[in-house]
């Protein structure tokens, strides 16, 4: 297992380098230069100075090397549009909000999705089961901007229970996190139901039943523990969902987070910010995958042999 973990760790390095290279290559292709955007023509000397300051006059591989060095030391460079801010400043300011939103969304999903899946599996084909699966199907299908709009329309505007947008008090955080948590919730309900049903068929469950253990004990000790492993593994792909969803949700609810800022930065042609945020998000996902893969090996001994 140690060999697997080490190999997995080593593989992360070239992948991160490649993702940075891809992002970097993509950014190089973009037409236009932020310094040529101003209505006033900048004198040629100033232009040259600016390009020198941001190393835009160097060949691409030098720029890439510098950038990787920066990322490795946790420096994502200056913002090209906001003269007095660095990408790090923006990350420091906006990222905690996005993390909080993501964690709260995940919390909703675990809090409501997992129990729904468990209860549905314990009584398959019951009314509750059908209801939960219908809800799960609808949760997958509704675009989150519709969910957000309907929640604002009813909860905030019609009933006046919660604020429509912003990110200050806990009341502000309920609707955005719930909206963002809906897809993970639907996913968990479905996943847990499936794995629970599968685990309930296992021989060791039959043995436990045969030796007269109480149903409650069988479910909590034998079934639940083994059924929840996929919830851990699902966390990594769901992170992708949450990041994608946060672009929309932060936009609608005016949450000052990375997702909303990303769109602003693209429109402002603030390339260093766009690149920094893309690299940051990618690295987070890559490391989440790493952690999940390792956790999976630890949690489920059956996978160890197959993976070494």
């Amino acid at each position: 297992m140690a060999a697997y973990i080490i190999r997995r760790l080593i593989w992360t390095v070239p992948v991160v380098l490649l993702v940075i290279l891809m992002t970097f290559g993509l950014m190089k292709q973009i037409e236009g230069n932020p310094f040529r955007q101003t209505e006033r023509a900048v004198p040629a000397a100033v232009q040259a100075n600016l390009e020198r300051k941001f190393h835009l006059d160097k060949p691409w591989y030098v720029q890439y090397g510098n950038y990787v060095k920066g990322v490795a030391t946790g420096d994502l460079g200056p913002s090209l549009v906001l003269r007095d801010r660095t990408v790090n400043d923006i990350v420091k300011e906006q990222f905690p909000n996005s993390i909080e939103l993501g964690l709260l969304a995940f919390g909703w999903a675990v809090l409501l999705g997992v129990p729904a899946g468990v209860l549905a599996a314990l009584k398959p084909n019951s009314r509750f089961d059908y209801g939960a699966m219908l809800f799960s199907n609808i949760g997958f299908a509704l675009p989150n901007f519709l969910v957000a709009t309907l929640l604002i329309y009813f909860v905030s505007v019609k009933w006046g229970l919660l604020p429509t947008s912003g990110w200050t008090t806990w009341q502000h955080k309920i609707l955005p996190s719930f909206t963002l948590g809906l897809v993970p919730m639907a996913y968990f309900a479905r996943l847990v139901r499936g794995t629970m049903l599968e685990t309930l068929q296992q021989d060791y469950v039959r043995t436990a039943r045969a030796k007269g253990l109480r149903r409650r004990r069988i479910v909590t000790v034998h079934v639940l523990r083994n059924s929840l492993i996929p919830v851990v593994t699902a966390a990594a792909p769901l992170l992708g969902y949450i990041i994608t969803g946060s672009f929309i949700v932060e936009n609608i609810f005016a949450v000052p987070g990375i997702g909303r800022y990303y769109v602003t930065a693209v429109s402002a042609r603030d390339y260093s910010v766009v690149m920094g945020l893309t690299v940051l998000l990618s690295i987070i996902v890559i490391f989440a995958n790493l952690v999940v893969d390792i956790l999976y090996t630890v949690l489920d001994p059956r996978t160890r042999e197959a993976r070494t």
Partner: protein, 302 residues
Amino acid sequence: MSATQIAGRIAGVDAGAPIRQSSLWQDAWRRYLRNRGAVAAAAVFLLMVVWCVVTPIVSPHDPNEVDFASAYEGPSWSHPFGTDQFGRDLFTRAALGGRISIGIGFAATFAILGIGVVYGAISGFVGGALDNALMRFLDALYGLPYLPFAILALAIIGTVDFWTMVVALSIASWFITARVVRGQIITLKENDYVRAAKAVGVRWYGVLGRHLLPNTLGVLVITIFLELPGVILGEAFLSFLGLGISPPDASWGSMAQDGRDSYRAHPHIIVIPSLCIAALVLCANFIADGLRDALDPRTKET
């Protein structure tokens, strides 16, 4: 006694009776038809496609005709879905937007399938160190959010139209398909008929093109409907953020964006295109489930 007769004898079937021949696809079709939910979903899906294709041709309203006198109308007989802020008929416009949304959806799905098949087939067929490297790469990228990369791709191309949207939406969405195809190829490679083909001297492209790839077709058909919802939602997200399809063209996402500011007074403008997306995605998910049960009964969910 022939092999089939022996098999019949073992299975307790009268060996003399003719054995009903049916191909995998016929079997799958029959199994699919038995699944009522999946059949209903397929029917609704087809109906929506037909509606999108036909309505703009036969509709008495021009979907781009501005008529401020009848702006913000609710549903009525002449405008079943009402009108938007410019007085455009939403029934016709939603069908027009559906053409673009569904069109981009299918085009991007096929692009994803194309990349995934090439990557997965190379990885699975060549095997060894290359397979290992390609798969470790996928392991690490698994779950990479497609939206930032789609936005980047659009920013690079500079213009937003049908085909650039297809490129943007497929560029970072093919990882799962590649992995699925690779898994299929690896499993199929172990089959005796593949070994036999190799043993009698079939070249590698013959093995791949004749014995391996055609057998991944079932999985690919399922994958179409597994990927389609994500792509259609992705298009909607981009257009909703104002980074995708823009006026005078319409997609369901851009129509939803049109209704964003007036949701308090006129919620129908955002709700109608969103529900179109939801209905299509829901159907695609049900079709994918039905296809999976029909084509691969072993993995049938209990």
